[in-house]
């Protein structure tokens, strides 16, 4: 097969749905798996990144997720590949957080690097994007994992409750409660932070 033919085939595959591509992978086509990696690595990364709050760890976990998916591709049954992938990512992340917590007495928030550039900032200047992100991550880190997960799926990944239920196995009513609580607590945390930021700046 010439390179051109290969490229055409790859492009064609990019337009196919997940189950079609998975079938190719099952038949031994490793390249086809690349289509799935391209398709989902960003959102899986966003999911994991929000939960572990560290770029490198998140990338490692995304890698682990895809390697596991590849190794167990034969156990995937037609349906929803994306959800299946999320479940794997979720398990990898849970395992990581557990082992991290057992090895480190300090909580996982320490893992996130929060730049403290607050002192001496012009009071009228808004928080820089990176700082705002750091504040958000800090706030997220103060929540229990179940609330973190609910918030991330709902608002970072903008999923609906049915999807969330399929991925987490948690009933919709409980997910709604968790999302509500997480928002409230995050908003509170942000308020405190912004107030103290203003005081400091003044």
């Amino acid at each position: 097969m010439s390179i051109d033919e290969k490229n055409t085939e790859a492009t064609e595959l990019e337009e196919k749905d997940d189950d079609f591509v998975v079938e190719k992978v099952k038949q031994g086509d490793k390249e086809a798996f690349g289509v799935l990696v391209m398709r989902y690595h960003r959102e899986i990364f966003a999911f994991v990144r929000a939960l572990v709050r560290n770029q490198h760890t998140a990338e490692d976990l995304v890698q682990e997720t895809f390697l596991k998916a590849f190794a167990h591709i034969h156990t995937y049954r037609k349906g929803n590949f994306r959800q299946w992938l999320y479940k794997i990512a979720r398990n990898c992340t849970i395992d990581f957080v557990r082992s991290w917590n057992s090895k480190h007495t300090d909580s996982i928030e320490e893992h996130a690097s929060i730049p403290d550039t607050r002192t001496g900032t012009d009071p009228h200047q808004l928080l820089a994007d990176s700082e705002l992100v750091a504040v958000f991550e800090e706030a997220l880190g103060t929540l229990p994992p179940a609330l973190q997960e609910a918030f991330v799926l709902k608002h970072i990944l903008e999923m609906n409750y049915t999807e969330m239920k399929k991925i987490t196995g948690v009933p919709v009513a409980l997910l709604k409660v968790r999302v509500h609580r997480s928002r409230k607590r995050l908003a509170e945390h942000l308020k405190h932070f912004l107030n103290s930021f203003r005081e400091k700046a003044l």
Binding site: K30, V37, M38, F45, R49, Q63, F70, V133, V135
Partner: protein, 211 residues
């Protein structure tokens, strides 16, 4: 906050955070209530912070290639359903070919197969409600964890098949890891000197019914 007010407030928050309404619409809905508008500002800050997070949480550009390099290093697991089935079918047939005659043969309790070296002896104990049953004897150094018996269909009949050479064996059953009892179906019994009775199995390769 009164219930009605609270419900309105959280509906506005929900719609705003789920991108159904924008900031202006939300504030307009809460118009006339400075308390609510003030409380709502937290949520504006929250949305701003996580939207920034959303747009900034990006994997390194090289991540997909990195993943694919590792995938390339993985062994190819090719699923060929028909072949797989064939292999399973062949394996299953082979196992059944051995097991069915063996089972028929051995189902006549304790009667050893007349083979030159090792025979497979099936031990059976009917003990409904037991949590575990194992067999101990001269052949496994009386170790209760060496030869567990199984009750796969849960009918209370515990079974173990033990390969044994010609000879005479004392043995007993251990129920729930604590109670040692003789085999009610044994052909002979012997006192063990500690107040218990062991069962005796004599294996010879002569005619069946030799013992």
């Amino acid at each position: 906050m009164k219930l009605k007010k609270r419900l309105l407030f959280y509906r506005v928050v929900e719609d705003f955070l789920s991108n159904r309404i924008n900031e202006e619409d939300a504030l307009a809905l809460l118009k006339g209530d400075t308390e609510l508008q003030e409380a709502f500002k937290q949520y504006i800050a929250l949305k701003k912070s996580y939207s920034r997070f959303q747009s900034r949480a990006r994997p390194s550009p090289g991540l997909p290639e990195k993943i694919m390099r590792q995938i390339q290093a993985q062994p190819v697991v090719v699923e060929r359903a028909p072949l797989f089935l064939k292999v399973y079918a062949a394996a299953l047939t082979a196992v059944l070919c051995i097991l069915i005659p063996a089972a028929i043969f051995l189902s006549l309790h304790h009667q050893p197969k007349t083979s030159p070296d090792v025979v497979y002896v099936k031990f059976v104990l009917h003990r409904p409600g037991a949590r575990s049953v194992s067999i101990v004897g001269d052949f496994n150094d009386w170790n209760p964890s060496a030869t567990p018996m199984e009750d796969l269909d849960g009918d209370g009949t515990w079974v173990a098949v033990v390969p044994l050479k010609k000879g005479r064996y004392n043995y007993a059953f251990v129920v729930n890891n604590s109670l040692w009892i003789p085999d009610p179906l044994a052909t002979d019994y012997v006192k063990d000197g500690f107040g218990n009775v062991n069962s005796v199995l004599k294996l010879s390769y002569e005619k069946q019914g030799a013992f």
